[in-house]
């Protein structure tokens, strides 16, 4: 009996330090990569000019178009998670109309030609995660004879990436 106790004590003494050391032969660390929501849009030119100055006799003045600008878009949104809206900062002069058409980036849909007002209007919908540039913007500016002669007026068009609701 004494001998067994001695052996057991010996076993305990020999294994105890081994167990303690083995418990710390590993160490861990956490690596976290936080990806923020990214929604960036820009246009290729800050300003453009359009003038209605011609007409066919018997018809309203001829509308003018401008396709000189493009936009660039980067978003890491979910599928169909975003849309693009357009809005004017101030109304165009009475009896004139400014319309906009945005081509769609890959995976999204253009809403076609939309009249710009001081209320936001959807111009592109169903936007997926994408990074594209050189996407066409088209403006059309028209006036009726009732507008008369209108002096140059600046308006600001704001394109916004918004959540699809």
């Amino acid at each position: 009996m004494k001998r067994k106790l001695c052996v057991l004590s010996l076993v305990s003494l020999l294994l105890l330090p081994a167990g303690l050391v083995q418990a710390s032969n590993q160490a861990t660390q956490t690596v976290t990569l936080a990806v923020s929501a990214i929604n960036e849009i820009s246009v290729s030119a800050a300003t453009l000019s359009m003038t209605v100055s011609a007409a066919t006799a018997g018809s309203q003045p001829t509308a003018v178009t401008n396709t000189a600008t493009t936009y660039a878009l980067t978003t890491n949104c979910a599928t169909d998670g975003k849309k693009i809206t357009a809005i004017l900062n101030t109304a165009v002069p009475t009896n004139t109309t400014l319309k906009i058409t945005l081509a769609a980036p890959t995976g999204a849909s253009s809403e076609g030609q939309k009249t710009l007002t001081t209320s936001a209007v959807n111009v592109v919908t169903g936007v997926d995660a994408v990074a594209e540039s050189g996407i066409q913007i088209s403006y059309e500016f028209s006036a009726t004879v009732a507008a008369g002669v209108v002096s140059a007026t600046d308006v600001v068009v704001t394109l916004t990436i918004a959540d699809t609701v």
Binding site: V21, Q29, L33, N39, N76, A131, S133
Partner: protein, 165 residues
């Protein structure tokens, strides 16, 4: 009596050897954690461009120490693997040793572990050395980042294992 000693001797010797082998096994500790945040500031060239594809951590944020080595000549090696919790399949995680340690108590064998190697779910050799060392800096690199990765916090756990050799 002699017979009993012969019977017990191999058992006692084995237990003694186990104790001897493990009593001076080195242990490892890791200090700090890695956190990288990706925002729109990481776009390659603003709207229309994709995210920079790889990111490196600050090497000063994570250090590893080995202690409990029997002597300056007691050699060991470190293996590394990762366990994903919310990691994205597109991500590839790499690790390298960003500092060398040549202390009176031990040193890292140069140039082991100084070039990036991918960390996978299986234990892989990382670097080796001898004796006791502290403050060895670890640096991480993550590749495979793009706007196709949804916004979220992605996390994986790195496990270092020190093996007495």
């Amino acid at each position: 009596m002699i017979k009993k000693i012969f019977i017990n001797l191999p058992v006692i010797a084995l237990l003694f050897l186990c104790g001897r082998m493990n009593a001076h096994s080195p242990s490892i500790t890791a200090t700090g954690s890695v956190s990288m945040t990706i925002t729109s500031a990481d776009l390659q060239s603003g709207a229309g461009s994709d995210l920079t594809s790889f990111y490196e951590s600050n090497p000063a944020s994570v250090t590893v120490a080995v202690s409990g080595a029997a002597s300056l000549a007691d050699e060991w090696l470190i293996n590394v693997h990762k366990t994903d919790s919310t990691w994205h399949n597109n991500f590839h995680l790499y690790i390298r040793r960003a500092s060398g340690e040549d202390l009176p108590t031990g040193h890292v064998h140069e140039p082991t572990g100084t070039t990036y190697q991918e960390v996978t779910g299986s234990d892989q050799y990382f670097f080796d050395g001898s004796g006791n060392i502290t403050g060895v800096q670890m640096q991480f690199k993550v590749s495979g980042v793009s706007v196709q990765i949804p916004p979220a916090n992605y996390q994986t756990t790195i496990t270092y294992t020190v093996v007495d050799i």
